[in-house]
């Protein structure tokens, strides 16, 4: 069963966000989503400096079998994107909560977020 990292918050669309209150928050996709997608072969991330909106699409994740929209879990300005996952998207499958992070954002408003417990229960993940 796919792992759900306990220290993170999650959107219903399977993005996680690490918000420690200091500096920009980090956004990625959950292991549950990465596993369901299959081997990820292409990611399209928002541009640095652009504004993302909670609940709206801000990019794309393409696996061998399918294409999924990437939704932002929060509203804010993108300060950094992970170029490593753009050049080697398999990192998202291998380490979705670590090296497979997607972008950093200065949060002005949070969307509806779930606790790790709530997300795991709703999506059959393992805490």
């Amino acid at each position: 069963m796919a792992k759900v990292a306990a220290e993170l918050k999650y959107s219903a669309e399977h993005e996680w966000i690490a918000a420690d209150g200091s500096g920009p928050s980090v956004v990625g996709v959950s292991a549950v989503a990465a596993e369901a997608l299959g081997d990820i072969v292409y990611v399209d991330l928002p541009e640095v400096g652009s504004t993302v909106t909670a609940g709206e699409t801000c990019g794309e994740i393409e696996s061998t079998k399918s294409v999924s929209d990437l939704y932002s879990p929060v509203t804010g300005e993108v300060t950094e994107v992970n170029d490593d996952v753009v050049s080697d998207p398999a990192v998202i499958n291998n380490d979705p909560y670590g090296a497979g992070w997607l972008f950093k954002v200065t949060v002005t408003e949070e969307g509806p977020l779930l606790s790790a417990q709530e997300y795991a229960e709703a999506n059959g993940g393992e805490l």
Binding site: G38, V41, Y42, E62, T64, K65, S66, V67
Partner: protein, 370 residues
Amino acid sequence: MTENYTALYEEHKKLGASFTDFGGWQMPLKYSSELAEHHAVRNAAGLFDLSHMGEVWVTGPQAGAFLDYALVGKLSAIADGKAKYSLICNADGGIIDDLITYRFGDEKYLVVPNAGNAPTVAAALAERAANFNVTVEDASAATSLVAVQGPKAEAILLKLTDESQHALVTGLKYYAFNEVSVAGHDVILARTGYTGEDGFELFLPNEGAASLWESVAQAGEEFGIVPCGLASRDSLRLEAGMPLYGNELSLERSPFDAGLGPVVALTSKEGDFVGRAALEAAKEAGTKRKLVGLKGHGRRAGRGGYPVLKDGNVVGEVTSGQPSPTLGYPVALAYVDVEHAGLGTALDVDLRGKAEPFEVVALPFYKRQK
């Protein structure tokens, strides 16, 4: 839709497969990574459960004549011990299914249709048999089919067969079969496949399937065999340029549009066969849109249903597409207006609103080194 389970379902569960519904069957989609499974077949070997495919026996004095009438090819002309790719069409020339027919003798043939179509094909054959002295028996539910595909497939099979039968394995040509004992199981061993690699397909009764599966997995371990699901099966067949019923083939497509004209025996068969008049008319009328291979210049893949564009105008539609694991660029099969279907033609695929450059290339995308 009825959920069907193959005799190997428990084996797949033990291996931690993720499952998908395919043609009414719960089938393994992948066991670990579909890319790893794909590469294993190209470089070593893969083990597939294809027991969802149908097996219909046609026996009796008029078996050959009956199949010549029921299918579009000249099946009576197959040599004993050989197989042939063919189609079953309706009276309008639409494709009901593509299938492989194995000839055991004058009066004995095995027809193998696709999973989802097997009941329809079995029923169509039974109906078409009314005026022939033949028996049509659908043995799909009692028969398992296991495939061993990849450059190491032969070595693995040799390990599982008695030395006295090795020549039956090594001497087997593509699209030929023998009855062989593999790991103690009497199987029909055919050198056929859907991956573009060398490989074998093994038919046997359900009772022996799990035991055979485990024997092959064990014998193949030293050669790097891995169990493979439908995800890698699809990417492998796409690279090999092989059509998938439901994507490239359907009741709405003529064999000529699909590039399968040579499969339709309009000249070599003198008698009537189901669909003949419609297929003659379709051949006469010519093809407006034909099936082509597309190679993407970017990194994003075309997917089934995406429009193909020329100068912004829709000139076709993608039927299958994804990034090719072996070649490293996106590949797609698409129906394209014949005037834009020439090799080297620059086209675009509408990828969710953005036109990405593709080019018409020769099929197959991938061809193994022999």
